[in-house]
């Protein structure tokens, strides 16, 4: 019985410690250097925040994309404030997000939004798909998984 309790304890402990490590960047330049890689992979980068209703709504579609489409790498870039870092951590734990979450704290938006896409006015959610020098930027939310999936496929299909 004692052993069972112990096992249960470890199981619960292991479960709760499963939360992923959030990659954190204070400056866009460091983020760009580490993340925007020209390595032949297709990256689907979703800009979001815990305070953004439409972002939170579409987040599960990106998690599903991460789980179901192994041809793309999903990166969830949170624009939450540094003071909300704990809130972000517990949010992704609660939502069971396994796709890589990145916290980008650079508040000097005017200095870097153009580097993602010149057409980005600054509203979120926004989704940036790239592979090498091929890019597709969308400043809107996705209504459902099918819409996101076909959007991603429209990009990957033109690479073939």
């Amino acid at each position: 019985m004692k052993q069972l309790l112990l096992i249960t304890f470890f199981f619960v402990f292991a479960q709760s410690s499963q939360a992923q490590d959030i990659l954190t960047f204070d400056k866009f330049d460091a983020f760009e250097k580490a993340i925007i890689k020209n390595d032949g992979n297709v990256y689907v980068v979703n800009f979001w925040a815990t305070w953004c209703g439409p972002c939170v709504k579409e987040l599960p579609y990106f998690e599903k994309l991460h789980q179901e489409n192994k041809n793309v790498k999903v990166l969830l870039v949170s624009l939450d404030s540094p003071k909300d870092a704990k809130k972000l951590q517990s949010f992704i734990q609660k939502k069971k997000i396994t796709a890589q979450v990145i916290a980008l704290f650079d508040k000097d938006y005017n200095s870097w939004l153009d580097k993602i896409d010149k057409g980005w006015s600054g509203s979120i959610p926004a989704t940036y798909i790239f592979s090498g020098d091929k890019k597709l930027f969308a400043e809107h939310e996705f209504e459902n998984y099918a819409e996101l999936s076909s959007h991603v496929n429209s990009f990957t299909n033109q690479l073939k």
């Binding site: 624009l79 005017n110 509203s123 959610p125």
Partner: protein, 201 residues
């Protein structure tokens, strides 16, 4: 064959027309005036202000955390620049059916609680924001007295912390306009919440 160039013109003008609508104004464009109801029940237009030297049009709302972070700063700007001849008009373009905390009654409550020193206008039917090309809150348009757009974008470079601001984009633009110069930069960007409109069928 003769029809081809005509068709081509028709198609390209259609595309250009679409682009203009979706992109909204750029510096140098003449902005449309409006007649919108404020939280005091009265209608406001820029043409009501005969002596104004310019207009600060702020697309904002009750609900967006970024708009809320800027509330005090917007109120301070309204108070600071009114005596200098620059009129601040805030417009809420969120459709209350999509964002229930942006109803007229809740706008009235917010304006009262925060002591807004500026008209807080309802973009009834969401007709004005697409013409300006506002996409998010807050989103600022500085116009001269002839309603020519002089500056578009952010209020400053730090939404989180007013005391850590390095660049006061909007105030610098007003200073430039006041001294007869074109603001530089005339366009800046910032993160904000998308303006909430009904989905088009």
């Amino acid at each position: 064959m003769k029809a081809f160039p005509l068709l081509f013109i028709a198609i390209s003008s259609f595309i250009i027309g679409e682009t203009l609508v979706s992109n909204g104004y750029e510096p140098g464009d003449k902005a449309t005036d409006f007649k919108l109801k404020s939280v005091d029940g009265k209608n406001y237009s820029m043409s009501d202000y005969k002596d104004a030297k310019g207009f600060i049009v702020v697309f904002t709302c009750n609900t967006c955390p970024f708009a809320v972070k800027y509330e005090d700063r917007v109120n301070a700007l309204a108070k600071k620049y009114k005596p200098k001849g620059y009129v601040l008009l805030a417009i809420n373009s969120n459709d209350p059916e999509v964002q229930p905390d942006d109803t007229y009654a809740k706008m009235q409550a917010k304006a009262k609680a925060e002591g807004f020193a500026f008209p807080y206008l309802v973009d009834e039917g969401q007709k004005i924001y697409p013409q300006y090309g506002a996409t998010k809150t807050p989103h600022v348009f500085l116009l001269d007295k002839n309603l020519v757009v002089k500056y578009i974008g952010a209020i400053d470079d730090n939404a989180d912390d007013a005391s850590a601001v390095k660049e006061r984009y909007l105030e610098n633009a007003i200073a430039a306009l006041d001294s007869g110069k074109d603001p530089s930069p005339s366009v800046t960007k910032a993160i904000g919440c998308s303006i909430k409109a009904k989905k088009k069928a």
